[in-house]
């Protein structure tokens, strides 16, 4: 850290309200910092809000994003500034003065009730930017239906009043008097301790590709336009049609690398890192949406599916869903004579010229930094790199060139959502490390809402809110009928339907309805409690209602989505589900949560780069950390690595990191140590270590698992039979030591995907392409005369790594592709090596005689099951730790208080390990900053007068939460240990054990209601 201001401020500014900015803001707000979120448009949400589905889980993008947006919008420590631009930044790390301009909205946000009358009455139609201009909106408009904040705006550039001086229809009809034509742009200054840049990217504009005719043919569209066409809130309401003639396409082609890996049409030499996956996703979803068999073809150069579960997604698309993949860069798109269809001309690998006709062509456009963001970077004095992304070091991946200003998301480099979310948390950690001494100084702790008097909730008055979810529910289920039905149910005192119940305005209306109608229990009929229950619970809590007096009826995921062809039966089912929910919540009593103290320290397992960075990030925030390492030294695999992908040497960084960790007063290091036993739970773990043969117990509030991974030792390609055959890490050492084998080699070969992307390990190990190319270049630099070959299946130098792939080709390194079905054959003849490989371009076998062979072997975890069991966290089928949500919770586990970082999560290069480690520390800090952990709620409770002391419950409890009181001859539950599974309640022969929230009575009642239709 370079020098920071003496006068630190406990607030931060996040520039950009996309998913990265939102995550950074939430982490900081949850760790005690005040956040100004500066968004240039009318609402936060960014590009993710416009996506249809997200890979590789096919989650509905808006469904998983919306709760985070709402949380951001309602967080007491976050202030959202929309239509706002950063002008200038003065000051230094810890104390910046930021000049901003907020453009006029012409709608008073405090008065707007988002009723939409202004848009309805506005006579001027304008292309809708949210729908990529594929539909129209009015000059009075809201950015998108679930926008946060959900407030309308007047588009000054298109408003008739601003053009001609008359109209003001919106003002006349607005029932809230919210239109304000006197509104003016505002200049103001804010002081913050740190700035996080998350301004995102701009999709590449393919108009300059003259041979693709995007500007001239309406059926050549971009991938962003296609996202909107797939989206239920898009221009065609989710119907897969081409907008030129409303015809359902039968053949769609995706063209990869448009505006990426291209120095001819544009300057974007880098790979945009996300287009392969989004194209596969779009193809898969399009095939699902299509009412007839759809021919979906993806034209690509290399399929780059190296993220977690991406390769499996690719394989499924190819083998199960029938997406066709053609390895070719298409030369041109022409119109088929006499139709609106399109002709693609391309050459296949063997050189034959082919032509195919398609109804629709989707250009998979790359990611680039917009001129506005480049200008912002210039004004803020932030350096950018060759790719026009913020310049960062692999060892400080979220730190910009200006101390105290951090970066995350696509402005750091082209990347997907999970990576953006990780960096966002990492940037929050950097801010928290910088400002730890003033944590809490800029926020006011909200008074917990006063809970209603028990008398007020004794007699149920239930409010039922039925959601249309845009058209997700409303297009199948008759929502008004369900609402009217709900009105007839016992104890129901209020009913309402809404377009999006999760939107902020409906949340506010819900609070008003609770107050105005004295409601004391709420049922929402919408989506899944798994995603939305916490949101609604928080809302009702704000009115003083106990959060357990709530029930969700899942009429979307488990009704309208699975019964779309049976609207009547789906409506009946929705009524049943609402009736079951109403019956259950009527029997629900307020539940108390116990407040447990938190041990404000962390345990980090694994002393490699990820573990050390995580430990340091927690310690720098002021929390004591115990760092456990199995070996006798820190450093892990970092010790064997020569450089990061860009050539920056690892050793100086690693030495300095080890030195910082070893000398940090808050870090206790335990080498030659392993874990014996773990008890407890979030905030209160107790772990017994074996420290070089002696036992030691550590109490800690959070745990970060960073146990790393290992190189697969190949059983093929003659590995182990010759000292001329290396793995990449061995090659690093051989090069560093300038071993004879390397220096004298006249011919070197690298074989990729050794053990990866095979049935035993159906995943890509992500780092090997770059690693082999780095070493290939180094061998070429040592001896420019040497022949160097890389035998590969796809070259996956994603992001800016593409530059080293280009450099390698320029240096004369030869790349030969092979298929899984025709792997290279390695033969040993005495001490000499020979490889036979089929060259698909020459269409014949090539025989290479070589001096050294390097195998790019897979990465795999080893012996992680015991650790997974101890912390009760899952592993995926490949043996890597499985996070809580692959898209939006990439370092959290479903088990609270346990986090993952580094290679044990998934293969990844050093800079991603560092970002993830800092992210894990940031997430862990959101627990450690809390004053207490709330336990109880849904927990078992034993009614002692009914307990006969048989101890059946004690025996079946997996958590040792039940004890037997000898004197009373009764059993008792320790609520802090109880996890609320309810096995005891089902075991008790006299129904003396109740699971609060899922009582016998409630479940009997739900069964009855399910059957009473």
């Amino acid at each position: 850290m370079t020098k920071a201001s003496q006068n630190l401020l406990g607030s931060a500014m996040v520039v950009g309200g996309g998913i990265a900015g939102v995550q950074a803001a939430l982490d900081l707000a949850d760790t005690g910092y005040f956040v100004y979120m500066v968004e240039k448009s009318e609402a936060i949400g960014g590009v993710m809000s416009a996506l249809d589905k997200t890979f590789p889980t096919n989650d509905c993008s808006m469904c998983i994003l919306s709760p985070k947006l709402v949380e951001c919008g309602r967080h007491p420590n976050i202030e959202i500034l929309t239509l706002t631009d950063v002008l200038e930044v003065a000051g230094e790390a810890g104390n910046f003065q930021v000049n901003l301009r907020q453009r006029a909205r012409y709608v008073d946000m405090s008065k707007c009730i988002a009723c939409g009358v202004c848009a309805e009455k506005c006579p001027r139609k304008v292309p809708n930017a949210y729908n990529e201009g594929l539909s129209q909106r009015k000059a009075a408009y809201v950015k998108y239906p679930q926008a946060v904040p959900l407030k309308y705006a007047i588009d000054k550039d298109h408003c008739i009043y601003f053009e001609k001086g008359k109209c003001r229809a919106c003002e006349k009809f607005c029932p809230a008097g919210a239109i304000n034509f006197e509104d003016r742009d505002m200049l103001f200054q804010l002081n913050v301790g740190s700035i996080i840049l998350a301004p995102g990217f701009k999709p590449f504009d393919p108009k300059i590709f003259d041979t693709y005719n995007y500007a001239h043919y309406p059926n050549v569209i971009t991938s962003m336009e296609f996202e909107r066409i797939l989206s239920p809130s898009g221009p065609s309401g989710g119907d897969l049609v081409r907008l030129s003639d409303s015809k359902a396409p039968e053949r769609i082609a995706w063209l990869q690398c448009v505006g990426s890996r291209d120095m001819n049409h544009c300057d974007n030499s880098y790979c945009s890192a996300v287009c392969c996956m989004y194209a596969i996703k779009e193809a898969v979803i399009a095939k699902e949406h299509s009412h007839h068999p759809l021919d979906a073809t993806i034209f690509y150069m290399d399929m780059r599916t190296s993220g977690k579960d991406f390769e499996k997604y690719y394989n499924r698309a190819k083998e199960e869903q029938g997406v066709r993949f053609v390895r070719s860069r298409v030369h041109s798109i022409e119109k088929a004579p006499g139709t609106e269809n399109l002709l693609l001309r391309y050459t296949d690998e063997s050189g034959s010229l082919l032509q195919e006709e398609y109804d629709l062509v989707v250009l998979s456009v790359g990611l680039e930094t917009s001129p506005e963001v480049l200008e912002l970077a210039r004004r803020m004095d932030i350096q950018v790199n060759d790719g026009k992304f913020a310049a960062t070091s692999p060892f400080a991946p979220v730190s910009t060139s200006r101390p105290g200003i951090f970066v995350c998301g696509a402005f750091q480099g082209p990347k997907d959502i999970p990576q953006s979310v990780m960096e966002a948390s990492a940037a929050a950690a950097e801010t928290a490390m910088l400002l730890s001494t003033v944590r809490g100084s800029a926020i006011s702790k909200p008074e917990p809402p006063q809970e209603m008097d028990p008398g007020e909730v004794a007699s149920p008055r239930i409010g039922v809110f039925v959601c249309h979810c845009g058209i997700n529910i409303g297009s199948v289920v008759d929502v008004p009928a369900v609402k009217e039905y709900a009105r007839t149910l016992p104890h129901v005192a209020y009913v309402e339907e809404s377009l999006f119940t999760c939107s902020q305005d409906t949340q506010n209306r819900m609070k008003d309805a609770i107050r105005e109608n004295s409601l004391n229990r709420i049922v929402v009929a919408s989506c899944s409690p798994r995603t939305h229950e916490p949101l609604f619970q928080q809302t009702i809590q704000e009115t003083g209602l106990n959060k357990y007096l709530f029930e969700l009826a899942n009429i979307r995921d488990q009704d309208s989505w699975v019964h779309h062809d049976f609207p009547e039966a789906a409506t009946e089912k929705a009524k049943d589900l609402v009736r079951m929910a109403v019956a259950k919540v009527a029997l629900q009593q307020p539940l108390e949560e116990v407040r447990l103290p938190i041990t404000q320290s962390g345990l980090v397992i694994g002393g490699g780069v990820a573990g050390m960075e995580a430990a340091l990030a927690l310690a720098e925030q002021g929390y004591p950390v115990t760092l456990v390492e199995k070996k006798d030294v820190l450093g892990g695999h970092g010790r064997k690595l020569l450089t990061a992908w860009n050539g920056d040497p690892i050793a100086p960084y690693l030495d300095s990191l080890i030195q910082k960790v070893e000398s940090h007063p808050k870090i206790s290091i335990r080498t030659k140590s392993t874990l014996n036993e773990v008890t407890g739970f979030v905030g209160n773990f107790k772990t017994t270590l074996d420290v070089d043969g002696r036992s030691e117990t550590v109490e800690h509030g959070v745990t970060i698992l960073a146990v790393g991974a290992h190189s697969y030792k190949p059983s093929e390609y003659q590995y182990g039979k010759s000292d001329r055959i290396f793995l990449n890490l061995d090659m690093d050492r051989a090069i560093a030591e300038r071993q004879d084998a390397v220096v004298k080699a006249q011919s070197a070969v690298f074989i990729q995907c050794v053990g990866s992307r095979e049935p035993d390990r159906p995943y890509c190990s992500r780092v090997c392409c770059s690693h082999s190319i780095e070493n290939a270049i180094r061998i070429k630099e040592i001896n420019p005369e040497a022949d160097v070959y890389v035998l590969y299946r796809d070259i996956r130098t994603y992001g800016l790594r593409e530059n080293i792939y280009r450099e390698a080709r320029e240096k004369g390194i030869l790349f030969i592709r092979f298929d899984l079905e025709r792997k290279p054959q390695v033969e040993l003849e005495g001490n000499s090596l020979r490889i036979t490989v089929f060259d698909p371009i020459l269409q014949q076998n090539v025989v290479l005689r070589l001096d050294i062979l390097t195998l790019a072997s897979a990465m795999e975890t080893r012996d992680v099951e015991p650790l997974a069991k101890m912390f009760k966290v899952p592993l995926n089928p490949e043996g890597f730790f499985l996070e809580a949500h692959m898209k939006l919770r990439p370092v959290d586990f479903a088990t609270e208080g346990v986090y993952v970082a580094g290679l044990a999560h998934w293969p990844k290069p050093t800079e991603e390990c560092i970002a993830q480690a800092k992210a894990a520390a940031s997430r862990a800090a959101t627990v450690l900053t809390r004053d207490f952990i709330a336990a109880g709620g849904v927990a078992a409770f034993i009614q002692k007068d009914q307990c006969i002391g048989c101890r059946a419950c004690l025996e079946c409890c997996p958590f040792g939460a039940i004890s037997y009181l000898e004197q009373e001859a009764k059993c008792e539950v320790n609520q802090a240990l109880c996890k609320g599974c309810g096995t005891c309640a089902a075991t008790c022969p006299s129904e003396a054990v109740s699971l609060l929230g899922f009582s016998h009575l409630q479940l009997y009642r739900q069964i009855d209601e399910a059957l009473s239709a």
Partner: protein, 147 residues
């Protein structure tokens, strides 16, 4: 009884795996019969033998539990208890002359949306073939649940 028999089926899903699988079936827009009513519970270990019996007695034509894969229970062992209880109930039903196929235990992880949809199809088919359960014999007794 209607011309085509549409069974009423009660399903207990644990909130970690099978309820998520049911959600996933939805986000994948898979289709399955509308006969199944899902009751969410924290863990299949919560399913009391009496819930299964009560459902059959009160007129469900079929009841099934869907839990995490064996070995993957979020609470370690709940689905083993559920498995044992389903076996117990099947045994009991057979003794009282009710076809034990009306009750079943299934396992669907949170990633198994398609399998969950298939479970619903298979079980509904099975119950359709078995015909109506006890509700054909006697009207469901009204349960008066009070606090």
């Amino acid at each position: 009884m209607k011309d085509t028999f549409e069974p009423v089926i009660v399903c207990f899903c644990c909130q970690w795996c099978s309820y998520a699988a049911a959600d996933l079936a939805g986000s994948m827009r898979l289709s399955y019969p509308t006969n199944v009513r899902i009751i969410r519970i924290p863990c299949t270990g919560r399913v009391d033998v009496k819930f299964l019996l009560s459902a059959i007695e009160d007129g469900a034509d079929g009841v099934f539990i869907s839990g995490c894969l064996l070995g993957d229970c979020h609470y370690r062992t709940g689905n083993y208890f559920a498995t044992k209880r389903v076996a117990f109930v099947k045994n009991l039903l057979e003794k009282v002359g009710v076809n034990p196929d009306r009750v079943e235990m299934y396992y669907n992880s949170s990633a198994m949306g398609p399998q969950f949809a298939q479970t619903c199809r298979d079980f509904t088919d099975r119950i359709r073939k078995l015909g109506p359960g006890l509700r054909a014999v006697a009207p469901a007794p009204a349960r008066n649940a009070v606090d």
